[in-house]
């Protein structure tokens, strides 16, 4: 737990030392890291590879954005709606998709996410499809604080990140988290120890979907934009990439993965339109040479105490 606090202290410190551009970048990184942590719960801990997590991110984002825009919800209830929407979607998807395993699970989640993406396009009248819509500044203040300012945004992102980060760290230490790891390691054995693997997997998916939904709602809240591009296949593949890069099944891996990939793409997009080439090369190199990711490899080679 001390290490986790240390990470948060570093993030707090960064605000005071980083130039403005990078403060903005880190606000975004922390929000995306929440998404990565949600994904990591399912992929890194439970061993289920989903190719459709963008649907949960989008559910959170639209659950927040649409209720604000259409029904004039204030921030708190809209945010909550986003989380509930993501969790409910995860419940339905889980109930269906968890009947499959392995490759079939990947494809089923991919197909469900594609369905969600198409549904968002279909209801373009409300969602404005690919173009998306903006959540007005006036609707993005919470408890009297205007969350559109750079400073407010950074701290809002940090607080939400901290809550998710510590909660996930706690969760994986609990018996529940250990059981998820047991399923990842050997599902049949876990079942024959008397664990209800199907139920545990469903719970993992719901929590994972809800955390991804928190990330989506936070994104809509802090950056004021809601668009269908966040529910494309690409946004399902990003968290996989971040988690693989940082280290699946580690608590700080997702954050590290997001930081690296964010800056890799940020820097390379200054040179070429084909910046996604970096993502492709990274994916291939990681699977070939570092399947444990940065944190995982460091933990195995040198620092077994890494969380």
């Amino acid at each position: 737990m001390t290490l986790h606090i240390a990470v948060l202290v570093v993030l707090l410190g960064l605000f005071f030392v980083l130039p403005a551009y990078h403060v903005g970048a880190f606000s975004r990184i922390m929000v995306l890291a929440i998404y990565a942590m949600g994904y990591n719960l399912l992929f890194g801990y439970t061993g289920l590879l989903s190719l459709g997590h963008a649907m949960f991110f989008a559910a959170g984002m639209y659950g927040f954005g649409l209720t604000v825009n259409l029904f004039g919800f204030s921030v708190a209830p809209a945010f909550l709606t986003g989380i509930i929407a993501a969790a409910a979607l995860a419940l339905i998807v889980g109930y269906l998709a968890l009947r499959t395993a392995g490759v079939a699970f990947m494809i089923v989640t991919l197909m469900f996410a594609q369905t969600v993406y198409l549904v968002i396009l279909y209801f373009g009248e409300y969602t404005r499809g690919d173009e998306g819509f903006v959540v007005q500044q006036a609707q993005r203040s919470f408890a009297g604080i205007d969350l559109t300012g750079e400073t407010e945004r950074y701290f809002a992102a940090l607080i939400l990140f901290a809550i998710c980060f510590l909660a996930v760290a706690k969760l994986v230490q609990m018996p529940f988290g250990k059981r998820l790891v047991a399923i990842r390691e050997n599902e049949e054995r876990a079942r024959m120890l008397g664990y209800d693997a199907a139920k545990l997997k469903l719970h993992a998916l719901i929590i994972s979907g809800a955390v991804s939904g928190i990330a989506g709602a936070t994104y809509g809240l802090l950056f004021g934009y809601v668009g269908a591009s966040f529910s494309t296949v690409q946004y399902s593949i990003f968290p996989l990439l971040w988690v693989l890069l940082g280290g699946a099944g580690t608590t700080i891996g997702p954050l590290i993965g997001v930081i690296f990939m964010f800056y890799l793409i940020d820097i390379s997009s200054g040179y070429t339109d084909a910046y996604l080439l970096i993502a492709g090369v990274a994916l291939v190199l990681l699977t070939l040479f570092a399947p444990l990711g940065l944190v995982g490899t460091l933990r195995k080679r040198a620092f077994p105490w890494l969380p």
Binding site: R99, M106, M111, Q114, Y122, D273, L277, G280, L283, L288
Partner: protein, 301 residues
């Protein structure tokens, strides 16, 4: 009926692409997410070959038809050696690696070929009219001419696809190559023990799968322009076909491709294209959930 001839053209392209995906999955148990990019690569290279050679469209097109699938097949086989072989075809890692390959191929194309869509001229393109028979109010009628109208090129695509399928079927069922592939598919360890060079077979199969997609793409570029993002739809459709036909079942793939190709136009008539896609995507997911052996496959006993 015109819709169904157009549907047959779509089916023809689709069946080649899906067959590639299906063979790779069947023999290697690899879900090749980069499959659509091999299709795109085929289309783009067809443009490159025809424009480099110049001259009469027939000449360039025939050259592309021969060279491009082989070239794409070689690239894919190289990727298999270089990447997939090294992750031991572990399902999770292969899928991640092929996602990486997808981005690499797509983005490398964007960097070299650019973001424009470019056409390839059809080798021949005369408008044909076929007689059509119909039972109308006045009994049996023959409508002639202009009962049906299609370009000669589209007709060629349909027959080319049929010819390739027959050739493929003969190779798979009647030759030693097919035998080796089936042995590897059944049990790669045993095949290895009996002296089948499984590693090489995998590379060939992966190359063959990509080559089939590229062939479909060469056939399609005179109808649809080559673009670096064109791989997405064929990938999704090929997935749908392979899932409905039953993962790895070749006859199932053919039937499903016909079904999807033909119905694509028909569904779009009744619903908006987006709604049609929603229904199709969702139904395919449900098929995988409740009938993982495919609609046409048989449940393992």
């Amino acid at each position: 009926m015109l819709a169904s001839l157009e549907g047959a053209v779509i089916s023809a392209i689709l069946v080649l692409t899906a067959m590639g995906l299906s063979i790779v999955f069947g023999v290697m148990r690899v879900v090749n997410v980069a499959h659509g990019e091999f299709f795109m690569l085929g289309a783009v290279l067809a443009w490159v070959v025809t424009t480099t050679l110049g001259g009469h469209p027939v000449f360039g097109f025939v050259a592309a038809l021969i060279v491009v699938p082989v070239l794409v097949g070689c690239i894919a086989a190289g990727a298999d050696r270089l990447i997939l072989k090294r992750v031991n075809y572990d399902p999770d890692r292969t899928i991640v690696a092929t996602i990486g390959m997808l981005y690499i191929i797509q983005q490398a194309t964007l960097m070299t070929y650019g973001p424009e869509a470019r056409p390839v001229e059809a080798p021949f393109n005369t408008r044909l009219s076929l007689p059509w028979f119909e039972f109308g109010d006045e009994g049996f009628q023959m409508i002639w001419p202009w009962g049906l109208s299609i370009t000669s090129y589209k007709l060629f695509v349909i027959f080319a696809a049929i010819a390739v399928l027959i050739a493929l079927w003969i190779v798979l069922t009647r030759t030693k190559i097919g035998l080796i592939m089936r042995a590897t598919q059944q049990d790669s360890d045993t095949a290895q023990a009996f002296g089948v060079p499984v590693g090489k077979v995998y590379s060939w199969v992966f190359g063959l799968g990509a080559g089939l997609a590229a062939l479909g793409a060469v056939l399609v570029v005179p109808i649809q322009q080559a673009h670096y993002l064109m791989g997405g739809d064929p990938l999704l459709l090929a997935f749908i076909v392979v899932i409905i036909g039953g993962l790895g079942s070749l006859p199932g793939t053919v039937i499903a491709a016909l079904l999807i190709g033909m119905s694509d136009g028909i569904i779009s008539v009744f619903f908006s294209p987006t709604l049609a896609k929603i229904i199709a995507t969702f139904l395919v997911a449900m098929v995988l959930v409740f009938r993982p052996q495919g609609l046409l496959g048989r449940a393992p006993s």
